[in-house]
């Protein structure tokens, strides 16, 4: 009976954690010159995550960059390109640059969460071009990210069009796998204990 109870508890835990995960949509970004359009040979690079929460309606960005040849002049997420992974598109997020993004530097880090229910989280042109409301702009941005048509771009003094950029790519979901492993492990421990008794 104890084993059954713990199994039920584990199942309940897995279910609740699964439903709370559904709100978070995480993406990786890997920024480089060769990822730019047009391609450049900048030695700079950057990486981080962009995580959308479709329940809280937020976009959390945690990223860092280094090795730029020019100093930063602006950073945005652009969307949506005509084809996934290539081409250019207009700015979707705050203009002239992300609030709090370090400007005038060749390396730095950025950590900010944007409220996607606010107009200030978007470029005005993006809202106009995507249904005219903040909600429709949010839906468009999430759809573009899911389709691989959104990229994080850093403009610098030497590369006005962008020195490094990276498309938002889905993060493989490790949580379910690790949860299964944990529950299997717990099950084994309980069996051992039961045997001892």
């Amino acid at each position: 009976m104890k084993l059954l109870n713990s199994c039920i508890a584990l199942a309940a835990f897995a279910l609740t954690s699964a439903s709370s995960d559904a709100a978070l949509i995480p993406y990786n970004i890997n920024l480089s010159g060769p990822n730019e359009s047009p391609v450049n040979s900048s030695p700079g690079f950057g990486s981080g995550t962009v995580t959308f929460d479709d329940v809280l309606h937020t976009m959390a960005i945690v990223m860092s960059f280094t090795g730029l040849t020019g100093t930063t002049t602006a950073a945005h997420i652009h969307a949506a390109t005509a084809t996934a992974g290539i081409g250019t598109s207009g700015v979707a997020t705050t203009t002239p640059s992300f609030t709090g993004f370090p400007l005038g530097v060749t390396f730095g880090s950025f950590n900010n969460t944007f409220d996607l229910t606010l107009a200030s989280s978007y470029s005005a042109a993006y809202v106009t071009a995507n249904g005219g409301t903040n909600a429709s702009a949010e839906a468009a941005l999430l759809a573009a990210a899911a389709a691989g048509k959104a990229y994080f771009n850093i403009h610098t003094s030497t590369f006005g069009g962008g020195e490094i950029r990276g498309f938002l790519t889905p993060v493989p979901e490790p949580t379910t796998v690790s949860l299964l492993a944990i529950s299997a492990g717990l099950g084994l421990v309980r069996r051992r204990r039961a045997h001892r008794i």
């Binding site: 010159g33 730019e36 359009s37 047009p38 391609v39 450049n40 040979s41 002049t73 602006a74 945005h76 652009h78 081409g87 250019t88 598109s89 207009g90 700015v91 203009t95 002239p96 640059s97 400007l103 771009n153 403009h155 030497t158 590369f159 006005g160 069009g161 962008g162």
Partner: protein
Amino acid sequence: MRAPAVVAFLLATISRGITHEVFLEATLSGAREVIPNASPGTGTALVTLDLDLVTMRVETAFSNLAGTVTGATIFGPTSVAGTGTAAAMSPALTATGFPSGVTAGTYDFTFDLTVASGYDPAFIVSSGGTVSNALNALIASFENGQSYVSIRTTAFPGGEVRGFFTQVPEPASVALIALGCGIGLLRQRRRQRVR
């Protein structure tokens, strides 16, 4: 003391705005040609560099030319801003709808600067060999006032009218400047009233 702070804030806002889209204007005339001429022709050109889409929109209007158009091209960078000559940066504009065989007309075309076809092939080579090199050289040439557009005609095969591009503040910035001036004037008025 507050007025300078307001101006500084406005300037900061404007310069940040310009990194996003760069607007450049040129007034074309015969007097501005390499070999100045007495052509009655006039023209204007507006270039918009979109650093997000990585495009260059060229809008031109011209009239009253002595000959009919045989070609039009954007050149740069000259060694000194506002004077001299340089090789072609843009492809021949007549290949993208610039009206030829006429003495007056308009043109509006947007070039994709992420691909080689957005430039004169020799400009890519002289800039370092890649499209990215050419893009950065083109932006610098425009921002430094070293670019010009010239219209060649049957009457003046070397160029009948031309004009150098100079950066213009974007419409939003102009509005901000106007707003800033307004605030400044109000403050002055208030001060005078207090006295």
